[in-house]
C-alpha cells in the first residue's frame, strides 16, 4: 500500500520555488493498477518519482507498506528501491549489455543472488515476456515493444511488490501498446503486484487500471474507480481526456444534438446489462420511438459498458424513463 500524506514538491529554478506537485494525499491499495493521467507538465512524472524517491518531497510523508520512506538512510533507500520496479517511456536499457545481462543487472547490483539464482531467474523472466530467443541480442537489435518487454523483465528481476510505469507505452504503436498492456495486466493478476502507471492516454487507463487519478497543474483534480471517472467525468480536464480518447469533438456533438428532435437522453450501461435487449422492450412497452445519435460499446478493464445518446419522440416518455431506471441503467437528460 502506498500512502501520500500532504506530499508536495517544488523545484528551485533561478532561486525561485516552482511548485511541481501541490499538497497531495492519496492511497494506492496493494494489488491494484492505479493510473495517473494528465497532460505533460501536470506533475504526474514527479508524483511517480516520489514513490521511489528519485525525487525528494519538499514536504509531507510517503508511507509504503507501513514505513515512512522519506526517513530512510542511503542503505535502507537502496534496499527499498530494489523492491520497486520501474519501466520508462524510452526503456532506458543499457545499450552495452545484452538482453539477458540487462535483466540480470539489478540482481547483480543487489549482490545477494548467486550466479545460479540469477541464471534461472533470467530464464524464467525471458520466458514470461516471450523473449527467450532474443537473450543474446543487444537492445539496438530489438523493436520498441521488445525493448519494453526487456524493461518489464528487468523491473521484475528482484521480485518487487510495486511496479512504476512512466509513460511505458507512449513511444509504442497502438498494437504494441495493446500487447504491452496485456502483459502488465497479466503480471498484476498473476503476481499480485501493485502497478502505478502514468500516461496521457485515457485509453491506457481504460484498458488496465482499476482506479485513476486525474492531474492538472500539479493537483489531483479527480480520483476514483475507472468506471466512475470514465463514464461520469466531473472535472473539465477529465472530460477532455475522456472525449479525446473517444475521438469526440465537443462542438460537433453539440451541433448534432441541435438537429435532433424530442428529448435527448444519455444512457450508461455497465456490466451484464450492456448486452440485454433493453431498448427494444422499452420502446414496445412505452410506445416511444428512438434514434441513436451516438454511442459506444466497449470494455473498461474487464467490465463491459455501453454509452448511448438517444433522441426519443412520442409515446409515454415517463414510463420509458422508469423502465430504464428499473433496469439499472444510468440515465442523464441532456435536453
Amino acid at each position: 500500500m502506498i500512502q501520500f500524506e500532504d506530499v508536495h514538491k517544488a523545484y528551485q529554478v533561478a532561486g525561485r520555488a516552482v511548485p511541481a506537485l501541490q499538497p497531495t494525499s492519496l492511497t494506492i491499495h496493494a494489488g491494484e493498477v492505479f493510473g495517473i493521467v494528465g497532460h505533460s507538465g501536470a506533475g504526474k512524472s514527479t508524483l511517480v518519482r516520489l514513490i521511489n524517491l528519485l525525487e525528494r518531497p519538499t514536504g509531507g510523508r510517503i508511507i509504503i507498506n507501513g514505513e515512512d520512506v522519506t526517513g530512510f538512510d542511503a542503505d535502507d533507500l537502496r534496499a527499498f528501491r530494489r523492491k520497486v520496479g520501474m519501466i520508462f517511456q524510452h526503456f532506458n536499457l543499457l545499450s552495452s549489455k545484452t538482453v539477458e545481462d540487462n535483466i540480470a543487472f539489478p540482481m547483480k547490483l543487489a549482490g545477494v543472488y548467486s550466479r545460479a539464482e540469477i541464471r534461472s531467474r533470467v530464464d524464467e523472466l525471458l520466458a514470461r515476456v516471450g523473449l527467450t530467443d532474443h537473450a543474446h541480442k543487444y537492445p539496438a537489435q530489438l523493436s520498441g515493444g521488445q525493448k519494453q518487454r526487456v524493461g518489464i523483465a528487468r523491473a521484475l528481476a528482484c521480485r518487487p511488490s510495486i511496479l512504476l510505469c512512466d509513460e511505458a507505452t507512449s513511444a509504442l504503436d497502438p498494437q504494441t501498446t495493446q500487447s504491452v498492456l496485456r502483459l502488465l495486466a497479466e503480471i498484476n493478476r498473476e503476481l499480485g503486484l501493485t502497478i502505478v502507471l502514468i500516461t496521457h492516454e485515457m485509453d491506457v487507463v481504460r484498458r488496465v487500471c482499476d482506479r485513476v487519478a486525474v492531474m492538472d497543474a500539479g493537483k489531483v483534480v479527480e480520483m476514483g474507480a475507472v468506471t466512475d471517472v470514465f463514464l461520469h467525468p466531473q472535472h473539465p480536464t477529465t472530460r477532455d481526456f475522456v472525449f479525446e480518447s473517444e475521438n469526440i469533438d465537443r462542438e460537433e456533438r453539440q451541433q448534432d444534438l441541435a438537429h435532433a428532435e424530442g428529448r435527448i437522453l444519455r444512457l450508461t450501461f455497465r456490466g451484464e446489462s450492456t448486452y440485454k435487449p433493453l431498448l427494444g422492450q422499452v420502446a414496445r412497452d412505452s410506445g416511444v420511438d428512438f434514434s441513436i445519435l451516438s454511442g459506444r460499446i466497449d470494455h473498461i478493464k474487464e467490465t463491459p459498458y455501453g454509452q448511448l445518446t438517444l433522441s426519443l419522440v412520442g409515446g409515454d416518455l415517463a414510463r420509458a424513463m422508469q423502465a430504464l431506471d428499473a433496469a439499472d441503467v444510468h440515465v442523464e437528460v441532456l435536453r
Binding site: 534496499a79 528501491r81 532506458n92 543499457l94 552495452s96 539489478p106
Partner: protein, 221 residues
C-alpha cells in the same frame, strides 16, 4: 633510393621509432590512469549530476583548463624541475614522460567528461531506481555505456601525444622528434626530416585506424 636518402641511418631511425613508441605508450597509459578518474569526477560534480559539488567542480575544472591552455612547448620547460624531482633526469625517453602526462591527462579528462555527458540520463535514473550506489552506477552503467566515446577519446589523446612526443625533442626528449630536430633541422638533412615525418604520419594513421575499429566493435547502439 639510397642516393636520395644519403643521410638516413636506418638503425638510428629504428631506435628513434622505438623510443617514440615507448614515450607515447607510457605517457598514454599514465594519461588514461590519471585522466579517467579526473574526468569522472568532473562529470559527477558538475551541475545536476549525482555528486553535484560546485566548488570541487570549479577547482578541478580550473586546474584542467590551466594545464590545457599552457602551450605544450612551455609546459615542457615548466615541468623540468618536477621531472627531475620525479625521475632524476629531464632528458631522454624517461624525462619526456612527465610533461607528456601533464599535457595528456587533462586533455583526456575533458574528453572523458564529454563522453560521459553523452550517456542518456534515463540510464542513470534507471540504474538509480534499481538501488545502485554511486560506485555501481559509475562502473556498472556510466563507463560501459560511454565505452565507445572513451575509446575515441583515447585515440585522440594518443595522436596528440605523438605530436607532443615529437615536440619533446626540443628539450632533448628522444625519439623521432629529436632526430628530426637534431639532423633534419639543425644539420639541414632534409631526407631525415622527410623520413621521420613520414613515419609519424604512418604512426598516426595506424592509431586512428585501430581506434576507429575498436569504437565500431564496442558500439552496440
Amino acid at each position: 633510393m639510397d642516393a636520395l636518402l644519403t643521410n638516413v641511418d636506418w638503425t638510428e631511425i629504428g631506435w628513434a621509432s622505438w623510443d617514440t613508441l615507448v614515450m607515447v605508450g607510457l605517457s598514454l597509459l599514465f594519461s588514461v590512469l590519471l585522466g579517467l578518474p579526473i574526468g569522472v569526477m568532473l562529470f559527477l560534480t558538475s551541475k545536476r549530476q549525482l555528486l553535484e559539488q560546485p566548488v570541487v567542480y570549479a577547482v578541478l575544472s580550473f586546474v584542467v583548463n590551466v594545464l590545457r591552455s599552457v602551450p605544450f612547448i612551455i609546459l615542457l620547460i615548466v615541468m623540468i624541475p618536477v621531472t627531475v624531482m620525479l625521475i632524476g633526469t629531464s632528458l631522454g625517453v624517461a624525462g619526456a614522460i612527465p610533461p607528456l602526462v601533464a599535457g595528456g591527462a587533462p586533455f583526456f579528462a575533458r574528453l572523458v567528461e564529454t563522453s560521459l555527458r553523452e550517456v542518456d540520463r534515463g540510464i542513470i535514473e534507471a540504474t538509480q531506481a534499481m538501488g545502485a550506489n554511486v560506485r555501481q552506477i559509475i562502473f556498472g552503467a556510466l563507463l560501459p555505456e560511454a565505452l565507445p566515446g572513451l575509446i575515441a577519446g583515447i585515440t585522440v589523446t594518443a595522436i596528440t601525444l605523438v605530436s607532443y612526443a615529437a615536440m619533446s625533442g626540443v628539450i632533448g626528449g628522444g625519439g623521432l622528434g629529436d632526430l628530426a630536430i637534431r639532423f633534419g633541422y639543425q644539420r639541414f638533412q632534409t631526407d631525415v626530416m622527410i623520413i621521420t615525418v613520414a613515419l609519424l604520419v604512418i604512426f598516426v594513421q595506424i592509431l586512428q585506424m585501430v581506434g576507429d575499429r575498436l569504437v565500431l566493435y564496442f558500439s552496440r547502439r
